[in-house]
């Protein structure tokens, strides 16, 4: 009790609430939860505490601590929730990947090698990127200067994988010999959000105001339709040439969301949905890879029976056998999914071992990250920051929807990763960078307004007035 009161006084004398102590408490919590899970897996599988317990726990705690110290130093007024939520997801992801590394069925595979150490390394690199963005990005408005450069960079990143061989049926990787492969789409997501925000900030008045009203919808002028058509065409091209439904859905969805936010015109959403539906159906008619995905989605158990693609069926059965409270850590059989069990299908493991209750909690945590992003957008004072925060959190949300929907059989499966949780270096790195930008914007947005500077206009009027 006495410690509580001393705490209260220290916070209140610290000046305006920066919520850093709240963040630290939540961060400690979000490091302890994965440690608990880790111990639980070890106890369930071997009946003893796992040997790497101390290493993983300290590693995660150290990473979180570094992140916190840097936030405290360079983004004092940042949102207190973004870092702990991301840390928790990353930590739980690490535990699931480690748990799947222990699965005998996966160990028996030919190309098996444990992914958890690698993932921990990439988490560390992700935190390093987070720290770097916080330190070197002094003000998010600097990004506005690079509007068109970021468009070019994003297009290059999107187009580049076409020149590399397809992996697992989708061309979304850039393979650098000796170094491994990179998924540029994950980074393009952030860079495109910067471009859209910069572009729409300039063009939104033209897009919003110059329109005719027709049947309750605002029809934009033909020439204003240009950019949406271009983005649509690019996303269709991605779908055709890279056979990657997820990336194309993500970019188009993000663009439509940002367009709607910038212009307040519902008609963009209607157009966007019609165009994406039309495009998807059109591509489905001739692209075999997409057709195969759609078939596996419509008839998962047929594909299971004839043995062509049993992943979705196995994932559905994993969710089913999990029930409401799950089988418990380490006691499920989600390793039956086999290939990509720890990347695209990682949510199935959550579904089986933690059950409906666990999946709901995880999805809520993703939802909270999106909510904090949108709250940041609301609080931001400049339109570029608003649009950027909105676009980034929309991209994050759409990505979670696309992956979770695919794994649960709601929409056709796409080759995307669950942010922070899934095994994969690019994904972890890019999402930490995304969270870092959100933290930076929220720091600017929540910083108490400085004493209003005497505006030069006001001074002039006072001098001129008799």
């Amino acid at each position: 009790m006495s410690s509580n009161t001393t705490n209260t006084t220290t916070i209140s004398t610290a000046g305006p609430p920066s919520r850093r102590n709240t963040e630290l408490a939540l961060l400690a919590f979000s490091v302890l939860i994965p440690c608990f899970a880790y111990a639980n897996v070890g106890l369930a599988l071997d009946g003893e505490m796992p040997s790497g317990m101390l290493g993983y726990g300290l590693g995660l705690g150290l990473l979180a601590g570094v992140g916190h110290v840097v936030v405290r130093k360079f983004a004092r007024y940042a949102d207190p929730l973004l870092l702990p939520l991301a840390t928790l997801l990353n930590g739980i992801g690490l535990v699931i990947i480690w748990r799947l590394d222990q699965a005998p069925r996966l160990m028996a595979k030919k190309f098996f090698h444990p992914s958890a150490p690698n993932q921990l390394l990439f988490s560390a690199l992700g935190i390093a990127l987070f720290v770097a963005v916080l330190i070197f990005l002094k003000d998010h408005r600097i990004l506005q200067r690079y509007t068109y450069i970021s468009m070019v960079v994003a297009l290059i990143l999107l187009v580049a994988p076409m020149f590399f061989p397809a992996k697992f049926g989708a061309r979304i990787w850039i393979t650098i010999p000796g170094l491994g492969s990179l998924q540029p789409g994950e980074f393009a997501k952030i860079i495109l959000a910067i471009f859209f925000a910069g572009y729409l900030m300039v063009k939104r008045d033209a897009l919003a105001l110059a329109s005719r009203r027709f049947m309750g919808l605002y029809l934009p002028r033909g020439r204003d339709l240009g950019p949406i058509l271009v983005v649509w065409a690019v996303s269709i091209l991605i779908l055709v040439f890279e056979t990657d439904l997820g990336t194309s859905l993500l970019f188009f969805g993000m663009f439509v969301v940002m367009l709607y936010v910038a212009t307040e015109r519902t008609s963009w959403i209607v157009f966007g949905l019609l165009m994406s539906a039309g495009g998807a159906v059109f591509v489905n008619t001739f692209e075999p890879h997409v057709q195969q995905r759609v078939d596996a989605w419509l008839h998962p158990f047929d594909a299971f029976k004839d043995g062509s693609s049993d992943q979705i069926a196995q994932a559905l059965m994993a969710f089913g056998s999990g029930g409401v409270f799950g089988t418990g850590w380490g006691q499920g059989h989600s390793d039956l999914i086999g290939f990509a069990a720890n990347s695209d299908f990682i949510l199935a493991t959550v579904g089986e071992e933690l059950g409906l209750a666990g999946v709901m909690a995880i999805l809520l945590i993703y939802g909270l990250i999106v909510e904090r992003g949108l709250r940041t957008a609301l609080a931001a004072r400049d339109p570029f920051g608003k649009l950027l925060a909105c676009g980034l959190s929309a991209a994050f949300g759409i990505q979670v929807f696309v992956v979770a929907g695919g794994v649960m059989g709601l929409i056709p499966l796409t080759g995307m990763t669950m942010p922070f949780m899934a095994q994969g270096g690019s994904s972890v790195l890019a999402n930490w960078a995304l969270v870092a930008i959100l933290v930076k914007i929220s720091d600017t947005a929540r910083r108490p307004a400085p004493a209003p500077a005497p505006s030069p206009d006001a001074e002039m009027t006072q001098v001129v007035r008799p």
Partner: protein, 176 residues
């Protein structure tokens, strides 16, 4: 490991996970910042939000006491406005505490109240206290004008309590 221990751990983990979610939501609830919406909870909640709330609620009371007992005693009887409330327009519900600072209104991003209003100029008007503490509204040469009640402002004008100041579609008034 016994079945019982594992079951307890399984449910315990879910409980801890949900506890985290609930704590996070509580943090959001207590995390009031930026433009504050006029709806003041009466309950005093968790330990870390108490000081923040105390800070938020204390200044108006202190100010009122100072105003009624201090050097502004002559106006204390009528009651000085303590806050500026947006009552119509896209920012409806926004309040700004009046603490002797100049409040600028307009579409410019550095305005105290950034108007998202097609009819507002970038530096539309400002509201400031004069030497006696009387709040004055001044139009800063806006295109579409600032209206106090129904009259378009041409000179800096004192604001009566509760009188609507209209800028485009936005209506602002001072309240106690």
């Amino acid at each position: 490991m016994s079945e019982l221990t594992l079951t307890v751990m399984r449910l315990g983990f879910l409980a801890v996970l949900w506890l985290f979610v609930i704590v996070a939501v509580q943090v959001i609830r207590s995390d009031l910042f930026g433009t504050r919406v006029t709806q003041r909870g009466s309950r005093r909640g968790g330990q870390d939000r108490q000081p923040q709330r105390a800070q938020q609620t204390a200044p108006p009371q202190q100010r009122q006491q100072q105003q009624s007992g201090g050097r502004r005693a002559e106006r204390g009887r009528r009651g000085a406005p303590t806050k500026l409330v947006v009552s119509e327009g896209t920012l409806t519900g926004t309040t700004v505490a009046l603490q002797g600072q100049t409040i600028s209104l307009g579409r410019a991003h550095d305005s105290t109240i950034v108007l998202d209003d097609d009819y507002a100029s970038s530096r539309h008007a400002r509201i400031y206290p004069d030497r006696d503490g009387q709040w004055i509204v001044e139009d800063l040469g806006s295109t579409n004008g600032t209206y106090l009640d129904r009259t378009r402002l041409t000179t800096p004008t004192p604001i009566p309590l509760g009188a609507p100041i209209r800028i485009g579609k936005t209506v602002i008034e001072l309240r106690k």
